[in-house]
């Protein structure tokens, strides 16, 4: 690289004031550092073994199964309970009380006693209890239309229709995957030291990965049973069709506050991706193999854009822009190639002038692909230990805190918070649902229940409260008189150390789109083809095109997210 003469400054990390806008976070895409891919790469690299020690499901589809994954040091088992759910009880709401299937990820191999205990609790979900031997609790409902089509096709000895599979994408969708101590399960701290769980949400990702294999097997089991009943033999679902199936997921408002409630963790996620981008932009030369990898995945990812459909107005606009952006990138690649010095930095700088934000972030993620050796180590920086950052540094002076607030919350200090439109919404938890909701502050009696999820407004109030305090006063003195600002002082101090901790936008305005926060989180999970079904919930598909457990050793454990190009 030193033979290339270029005097340009190495690119800096992108400024949080650019990255952390909701409009941009709501355009994030999966990347090498997404949690699903971190898991499948690891399982392939470490030659994980998978087996199915128990499958005890009757012809009506009722029973249980155990799917085990064996890593180098530990085994984990998905314990799945299949039910016979009447259609009128099938609901994706958090308050639902029955599901088509319920699951837990067990730490190890469960005994018969464990199964008995779990059978009494896991199907109840929130109304049951699990123990420190369980790592997650989840449930899933069928896509009724596709499920019946697949069972009846296979039972009749035929393959299901590929178009119908593509139109839905999944046989079951999870409506909640709980980890980290929920319902009595193991706390993350109990397992965070295990190498396979150091990256975030690996328990949940493993649970969904095994769930997908179970669901494929269950639909075959049901088709076989139906064919048996008719004295026929069912067709075996073709592997390519099977592979195109993912697990659906409906994500609603309950997840939206996560990014606000975990500022250090969120900063680490964004920071890892930003550092990866910086490293790639700093490369003086792209080698031929790297260029070829990029060109190949560009073409495959372009196919993925074609397959991305949504009926949501805002997403449709983004998709239209993205389609145009992809054509612009193709033209630039054709015109200029990637042989010039600092090709990635050049491409990135060009993109910021020409492409939509959706297209810019699509490109950023794609640029990382050829550089696993350079960026994959950043997966080790995604997790957070909040212990050290949680305590307020009370010796910080009022003057210093003011500077910090101006630097991080400048946009908020310039916002007119007296304008009703700027505080039109309020986040609260309803007694009925026990989950976060977004209400109309001026039309509903909810303000006294407001959750602290408006950091901009709160920082602005803190700034105003500090105005008449002497600059040299330690913040400890101020907080003794004003405990109502402790929350905001802590956030400001966290954001001062963790640059991407804070969303730089108004989370309670009349125009806030919770789907921006949902999409951002789901992109870090590794989801694609975000399909907002309203401003408040998003449907996605996980692990579509991924190798199944028994295929992992023979297939690509990393680039499966990108559709394969058709021959000819």
């Amino acid at each position: 690289m030193s033979d290339v003469q270029d005097t340009r400054e190495l690119p800096a990390l992108r400024d949080p004031s650019i990255v952390m806008r909701l409009s941009r976070l709501g355009c994030f895409h999966q990347s090498r550092l997404s949690f699903m891919r971190i898991l499948t790469r690891r399982m392939k690299r470490e030659n994980w073994r998978f087996d199915r020690p128990v499958i005890d499901i009757d012809a009506a589809g009722i029973g249980h199964a155990v799917y085990s994954a064996h890593g180098p040091d530990h085994s984990y088992s998905l314990v799945a309970f299949a039910h016979d759910l009447p259609a009128e009880q099938r609901s994706d709401r958090v308050i639902a009380e029955a599901w088509d299937c319920t699951f837990t990820l067990f730490d190890g191999i469960p005994t018969a006693e464990d199964i008995t205990r779990l059978a009494q609790n896991v199907p109840l979900q929130e109304a049951g209890r699990v123990t420190g031997a369980e790592l997650s609790v989840s449930r899933a409902n069928r896509s009724v239309r596709l499920w019946e089509h697949m069972v009846s096709s296979l039972a009749a000895g035929q393959q299901p229709d590929a178009d119908q599979i593509e139109a839905v994408g999944y046989l079951m969708r999870t409506t909640a995957v709980y980890g980290s101590g929920k319902l009595g399960a193991a706390d993350r701290e109990m397992i965070a030291e295990r190498a396979e769980f150091t990256a975030p949400f690996q328990v949940e990702m493993l649970s969904v990965y095994l769930t997908r294999a179970f669901v494929r097997d269950l639909v075959q089991h049901m088709a076989n049973a139906r064919a048996d009943g008719a004295g026929k033999t069912a067709a075996q679902l073709g592997p390519a069709l099977a592979r195109s199936l993912g697990i659906g997921n409906s994500t609603g408002l309950g997840m939206a506050p996560f990014l606000l409630n975990h500022p250090v963790l969120f900063s680490n996620w964004v920071s890892a991706r930003e550092q990866a981008l910086q490293r790639v932009r700093s490369l003086a030369v792209a080698r031929p193999a790297e260029i070829a990898c990029f060109q190949d995945l560009f073409a495959r990812n372009r196919l993925s854009v074609v397959n991305w459909r949504s009926e949501h107005g805002a997403q449709r606009e983004k998709l239209t822009a993205l389609t145009g952006d992809v054509a612009l990138i193709a033209k630039r690649l054709a015109d200029r190639g990637l042989a010039q010095p600092y090709p990635w930095d050049g491409l990135y700088r060009w993109s910021t002038k020409v492409l939509s934000v959706e297209g810019q972030e699509w490109l950023v993620s794609l640029m990382l692909e050829p550089y696993g050796d350079l960026v994959d180590d950043l997966a080790g920086e995604l997790s957070a230990d909040n212990t050290a950052t949680f305590r307020i540094a009370g010796a910080m002076t009022v003057a210093r805190l003011r500077e910090v607030l101006q630097q991080i919350y400048g946009w908020a200090l310039d916002t007119d918070w007296k304008l009703p439109a700027n505080t039109a919404r309020a986040w609260y938890v309803s007694e009925e649902k026990l989950e976060p909701r977004l209400g109309q502050r001026f039309e509903e009696p909810i303000e006294q229940y407001e959750q602290p999820l408006a950091p901009g407004r709160d920082a602005s109030q803190l700034f105003a409260a500090l105005a008449h305090w002497p600059g040299e006063t330690p913040i400890a003195e101020f907080l003794l008189r004003h405990p109502e600002h402790r929350h905001s002082v802590r956030r400001a101090q966290i954001a001062n150390r963790a640059p991407y901790a804070e969303i730089r936008d108004n989370t309670i305005s009349d125009t806030v789109l919770p789907i921006d926060m949902l999409r951002c989180k789901l992109a870090f999970f590794g989801a694609m083809h975000f399909d907002p079904r309203s401003d408040r919930w998003v449907r996605i598909c996980m692990y579509g095109n991924a190798p199944y457990p028994e295929e992992l050793s023979a297939r690509d454990g990393d680039f499966w997210v990108y559709p394969e190009q058709q021959e000819g």
């Binding site: 259609a87 099938r90 609901s91 994706d92 420190g132 409902n141 896509s143 009724v144 596709l146 969708r173 409506t175 980290s180 101590g181 929920k182 009595g184 399960a185 706390d187 701290e189 109990m190 659906g248 409906s250 609603g252 408002l253 309950g254 212990t387 050290a388 305590r391 540094a393 009370g394 010796a395 938890v429 309803s430 007694e431 649902k433 989950e435 909701r437 977004l438 209400g439 109309q440 039309e443 509903e444 009696p445 909810i446 229940y449 602290p452 330690p474 913040i475 400890a476 907080l479 003794l480 405990p483 109502e484 600002h485 402790r486 929350h487 002082v489 079904r533 309203s534 408040r536 919930w537």
Partner: protein, 215 residues
């Protein structure tokens, strides 16, 4: 009943808020309750006791009137959550060799997690002691000396916090906690106050995600 530490933290945060504490203090109360529970101390029971004692009363009445000299609260009894938070805020004083002294502290054990936070900040162990009870913590581990009655006392006449402290027979945290059903129910009752009653208007205004995905 066996609870995960996350469950304890989540419930404690809502309960402390429901009892009238500011969000920032509620967050710290929750972390502290979790921390004590991890060392097999009855954090939930102590928190339920303190929240009941000071339920929705003005925080300023139970706060140190000043951070100079021996800390005293205007109401005569001091909240271990508020005083503990202030002690953690003033951690640098202890690094400079200054003791922090508090008078009439309610449920003093609830102040000890804040010493853990201070110790992490200072990078050296911090001690907290009152009659019959002596604690030292580096933030990760905790040494406790004294009989259980004194350790779990509901009032300490005089509490001294200082650094550095000597860790003698430190105890590492466990990862599960047994919680009394009664104390859990008390916290749940406080927490319930933070939930907005559902109204017909909120349903009509579509506050939730209204997931209906039966495709």
């Amino acid at each position: 009943m066996s609870h995960s530490l996350n469950e304890i933290e989540a419930m404690s945060k809502r309960a402390a808020r429901g009892a009238g504490l500011a969000w920032g203090l509620a967050e710290e109360a929750a972390k502290g309750t979790r921390w004590l529970s991890a060392f097999s101390f009855p954090g939930v029971e102590l928190l339920a006791g303190l929240l009941t004692l000071n339920d929705r009363l003005p925080a300023v009445d139970f706060s140190p009137a000043t951070l100079e000299g021996c800390w005293k609260a205007p109401a005569g009894r001091m909240s271990s959550l508020i005083a503990g938070a202030a002690m953690s805020d003033c951690a640098m004083r202890m690094a400079a060799g200054q003791e922090i002294e508090m008078e009439n502290l309610c449920f003093p054990l609830l102040a000890v997690p804040f010493a853990g936070g201070a110790a992490l900040r200072l990078g050296q162990p911090v001690s907290v002691s009152w009659q019959g009870a002596q604690f030292a913590t580096d933030g990760q581990r905790l040494c406790a000396q004294g009989d259980r009655k004194a350790l779990l006392s509901d009032r300490a006449r005089r509490v001294i916090c200082a650094a550095p402290a000597e860790m003698q027979g430190p105890v590492a945290p466990v990862q599960r906690a047994e919680v009394s059903v009664q104390a859990w129910a008390q916290l749940a009752e406080f927490a319930r106050r933070t939930y907005a009653p559902a109204t017909e208007s909120s349903r009509l205004l579509g506050a939730g995600a209204d997931l209906d995905d039966n495709e």
